[in-house]
């Protein structure tokens, strides 16, 4: 028999009820309170809609208007087509101008919305197009197609259209998009090997879709003692570059600035070539030209937008003239080169402007139209207007001073929309996956809101692409991508609070164990006493 302190029954009862009350309080109030106060705030995310995004199917629809000119259809077929009078009279002096005028006149007749294409079918015998030209694509969204199914006797309208299908498909692939363009826009989301090398080179060259770009034009003058250069860059930008940038306003914001750098030298020594009596830069050494210059170029510290640099280098008098040679040791007509995703450099020789016995420094005015011609074509490449190889029989009218043809812009808008939709959906799905995986990241309300608005904008963009409204689709895709980027790169989503489970136990056990042990033991004691009591009662009854 062990000696135990003898408590009277009421005291024992009070002790028991106190222990039970404390245990009840701990379990009923303490545990939920602890759970609530240590839980991280996670705002609700539309997980179901995000799950749908993973299996996104894109459907792109192009609106095509086909206009049959007189003489292409037989009278019966003509009756089936809703007719409208379009008369075009021309008195053209030369063949080539005639075509441009015709294109311009036709463009003013029809209203074309962004993304749509108008194809005019002209009779086989028409003199508008030269003999070997089958299709002429103008500067706006129109194309002239020489019909080769002039009169399929007895055939109805659907058969005529079906016969024209392959040619129209070719036209549309040139003017809107083809399989290669779409896969190029999705290169980083696809398995390697799906896109051709040319389209991969194009996608490496052009900048990725970004809400804004900064363009810097720099004049490098290594020899101010001899050359006093004047360049009217503001007027040149107004005349040549701003029209293009204004047209690209739906795609991105642009900020343009210019600077002049003195005593800036190229990093390579050009070699003197006696046969050409000029200094030459070979194609291999061009790669090392950019780095020493880049350190001095500078950029706007406030924004994180990609920067395009266009440099105009005027060689010093000791190394003039300076020409660039390509791989085959031939002179390059433009005397310029560009680097993908960086910009371009043009070498402008001024040795012809003065003789040997002039008073130095010489005032030289730079011919900005020549310079801007080169920069404009480089800018087009950087922004994503690829050098489209036209299929044979096609003639694509060059954009000239306007910078970019409307159908070229449409091409870019198609690929940009697709790229934006793909990138935004990838961001959202990977963000949702990340937030799922790490259970103790705090999801603030603003992130949930950004995600929800990104998902809505994405679905709207996909719907607009299906409906064929390119401008609206691009707008929605831009909204989607900016919302998804803001959500993904929110500074609060840092998963530094990585607490592995053993660390969690190590924190909680010293706090809760000393408290829980007496409670549990007293509960056990009470339970055992109750059982004993019941056993005694049963024994007494029996």
């Amino acid at each position: 028999l062990s000696i135990r302190p003898v408590l009277s029954d009421p005291e024992k009862q009070r002790g028991r009820s106190a222990a039970v009350a404390i245990a009840a309080l701990v379990i009923a109030a303490g545990i939920p309170l602890w759970w609530k106060t240590t839980e991280t705030y996670r705002a609700w995310l539309p997980a179901a809609r995000i799950g749908e995004l993973e299996a996104l199917q894109l459907e792109l629809r192009v609106e095509v208007e086909v206009v049959f000119a007189r003489g292409t259809l037989s009278p019966e077929q003509q009756k089936k087509v809703p007719a409208s009078r379009i008369t075009y009279e021309s008195c053209c002096k030369s063949k080539s101008l005639c075509l441009v005028e015709a294109d311009h006149a036709l463009h003013t007749l029809t209203e074309t919305s962004c993304g749509s294409v108008v194809i005019y079918i002209i009779p086989e015998a028409s003199a508008l197009l030269p003999q070997d030209m089958r299709v002429y694509v103008g500067r706006s969204r129109t194309a002239l197609l020489r019909s080769q199914v002039a009169s399929v006797v007895g055939a109805g309208l659907p058969e005529v259209l079906a016969a024209l299908d392959p040619q129209m498909e070719q036209v549309l692939q040139t003017m809107s998009f083809n399989h290669q363009d779409v896969t190029a826009a999705l290169t980083d989301r696809l398995r390697p090997g799906l896109s051709t090398r040319d389209s991969l080179a194009d996608s490496m060259r052009a900048f990725k879709s970004s809400p804004g770009y900064e363009i810097t034009f720099s004049l490098l003058n290594p020899d101010p003692k001899h050359h006093q250069l004047h360049w009217d860059v503001e007027a040149a930008l107004d005349a040549y570059i701003y029209p293009l940038l204004h047209k690209m306003a739906p795609v991105a914001n642009f900020s343009v600035d210019s600077q002049i750098l003195y005593y800036a030298v190229l990093g390579v020594n050009p070699r003197y070539d006696a046969s050409a009596s000029a200094y030459t830069l070979s194609a291999d050494s061009l790669a090392h030209v950019i780095n020493p210059v880049e350190a001095r170029l500078g950029s706007n510290a406030a924004s994180s937008n990609p920067v395009l640099n266009f440099l105009l280098y005027v060689p010093d008098s000791l190394h003039s003239p300076l020409i660039i040679r390509n791989d085959q040791k031939q002179e390059v007509a433009s005397n310029a080169f560009h680097s993908p995703r960086w910009g371009g450099i043009m070498v402008y020789n001024v040795d012809g402007a003065y003789g040997n016995d002039t008073q130095f420094p010489v005032d030289i005015a730079i011919d900005m139209s020549r310079v801007m011609g080169v920069f404009l074509s480089q800018l087009r490449l950087m922004l994503g207007f690829q050098q489209t190889g036209a299929p044979p029989g096609f003639v694509l009218e060059a954009a000239g001073r306007e910078g970019v043809a409307e159908w070229e812009l449409d091409r870019l808008l198609w690929s940009r929309s697709v790229e934006n939709v793909a990138t935004a959906s990838a961001s959202i799905t990977s963000l949702a996956q990340l937030l799922d995986q790490i259970a103790n990241i705090v999801i603030n309300d603003n992130i949930a809101q950004q995600v929800a608005s990104a998902v809505t904008a994405l679905q709207a963009a996909v719907a607009e692409l299906e409906a064929g409204n390119l401008a609206l689709a691009l707008e929605h895709s831009r909204e989607a991508i900016s919302a998804s980027e803001r959500a993904f790169f929110d500074p609060s989503l840092l998963h530094l609070l990585y607490f592995p489970d053993d660390q969690k136990f190590a924190i909680y056990i010293p706090l809760f164990l000393p408290m829980c042990v007496p409670i549990l033991l007293s509960l056990l004691k009470i339970f055992r006493e109750v059982q004993q009591h019941r056993a005694e009662k049963r024994a007494k009854r029996d």
């Binding site: 459907e59 792109l60 629809r61 192009v62 609106e63 095509v64 087509v81 809703p82 309208l157 998009f177 083809n178 399989h179 980083d188 991969l200 080179a201 490496m204 060259r205 990725k208 007027a235 005349a239 701003y242 029209p243 194609a283 790669a287 090392h288 950019i290 780095n291 880049e294 510290a301 924004s303 994180s304 990609p306 390509n326 007509a333 433009s334 310029a336 080169f337 680097s339 993908p340 995703r341 371009g344 043009m346 020549r370 801007m372 080169v374 404009l376 074509s377 190889g389 299929p391 044979p392 000239g400 001073r401 990838a426 990977s430 990340l434 993904f488 790169f489 500074p491 530094l496 990585y498």
Partner: protein, 392 residues
């Protein structure tokens, strides 16, 4: 008018089947040659993130390590705008430095790696695990300037160099916190999700460095470490005049190797793996290439340490010279030139004829009101409320 709608992108038409005219075939060949040169590697720009995770004078060698790698990377072409340098930067101007404003990497003070054009982006107490992860993942507050950001894209090759004190699975940051290999692997995965790199080379020079790359699981990562798990990385040589060890062995021999590399060099990664064998380094350097898609023998050192740009000759130009047509201004009337003058640095006129400025009257603020209330309360409590009627 008939409407024909074309649903979904159609199969592309192969151009190669058509007969080509002479001029266009030459163009196609040139195009192919250009494409060939592009595809030796996939990157168009290079970035470097160099981190020294130690502070205090006795960790001189870690700062010298990082600065030496910084110098090599700059020499091989990566500009400052593409380098994120994180240093505690307390060596050059340390009170214990017998030669202030210098950090030497070779004994007998042969090579000053601090120089006069070091651009440190994160210095002092800004070198934290949080800032490092923020730089990698891009989750920086909007007020962060461009020089402190890693603005890489999907065609960037990034070099990441870490040095300091480490252990099995962690790296110590400035004696107060640590980063684990799991966190680092997760950060790289986040970079991959957003395609913030094309290929990434990770070099770590700490004790048990190989443990830091054990947990990587994202594609296109190559990692080198100065020692295996259970081994210590040792320092190279002390300088008796300065009084501390100047560099770590692995980085010392890495630097010797890099000094022979110039921007046009064709040395590849297999040579880099041979740097600092056990006889020189005492520890066993390790590397990991299973996540890397290209064969290391085809990867040039300059793909990561230098910045060799891809260059294309501009073949097409736009003919803008239309004679006789003057340049039209776009967007309105030309702005007139206004004569500009400097603002007075010292407004003498204002100083000499100074009148006291009329200050606007503000009602008394809370403090004055409270003070007066207190005084009044004390007064009325002491002397009784009957005085109140004399006031009001």
């Amino acid at each position: 008018m008939t409407y024909v709608s074309l649903l979904s992108p159609v199969v592309c038409v192969c151009v190669s089947h058509f007969v080509l005219i002479g001029r266009t075939s030459a163009f196609l060949l040139l195009h192919q040659a250009r494409a060939e040169r592009f595809f030796r590697s996939d990157h168009t720009n290079n970035w470097a993130v160099l981190v020294c995770t130690s502070r205090f004078w006795f960790n001189y060698r870690h700062v010298a390590n990082t600065l030496s790698v910084y110098r090599s990377v700059k020499r091989l072409g990566i500009p400052d705008s593409h380098i994120v340098l994180m240093l505690a930067d307390d060596m050059a101007c340390n009170h214990r430095n017998p030669k202030p404003a210098t950090v030497f990497s070779h004994k007998n003070m042969e090579l000053n790696v601090y120089g006069d054009d070091v651009e440190v982006d994160y210095r002092g107490y800004e070198v934290t695990v949080e800032n490092f992860l923020r730089v990698l993942t891009g989750r920086l507050p909007p007020s962060t300037p461009r020089s402190k950001r890693l603005l890489s894209d999907d065609h960037s090759n990034i070099l990441i160099y870490l040095t300091g004190h480490g252990g099995n699975g962690f790296l110590k940051f400035q004696d107060s916190e640590e980063i684990s290999n799991v966190e680092l692997a997760d950060a790289f995965e986040q970079m991959w999700q957003k395609r913030r790199y094309n290929e990434l080379l990770f070099i770590i020079d700490t004790c048990q460095g190989a443990s830091m790359y054990e947990r990587f699981y994202s594609p296109n990562l190559m990692a080198l470490a100065s020692s295996q798990v259970g081994e210590d990385s040792l320092s190279h040589q002390p300088d008796l005049a300065i009084g501390v060890h100047l560099m770590d062995r692995y980085t010392f021999y890495l630097l010797e190797f890099l000094e022979d590399i110039h921007p046009a060099s064709q040395a590849n990664m297999n040579d880099l793996f041979k740097v600092c064998p056990k006889s020189q380094c005492v520890s066993t350097p390790g590397h990991r290439t299973d996540l890397f898609q290209r064969d290391p023998g085809s990867v040039l050192i300059t793909d990561f340490f230098g910045s060799v740009r891809k260059v294309e000759i501009t073949m097409e130009t736009i003919n803008l010279t239309v004679p006789g047509i003057p340049l039209e201004r776009f967007g309105g009337e030309p702005h007139t030139e206004t004569a500009l003058a400097y603002v007075d640095q010292l407004p003498v006129a204002q100083i000499i004829h100074q009148k006291p400025k009329q200050k606007d009257w503000h009602p008394p603020d809370g403090f004055i009101l409270g003070l007066w209330t207190l005084i009044l309360l004390v007064f009325f409590r002491t002397y009784g409320i009957k005085h109140l009627k004399h006031i009001f």
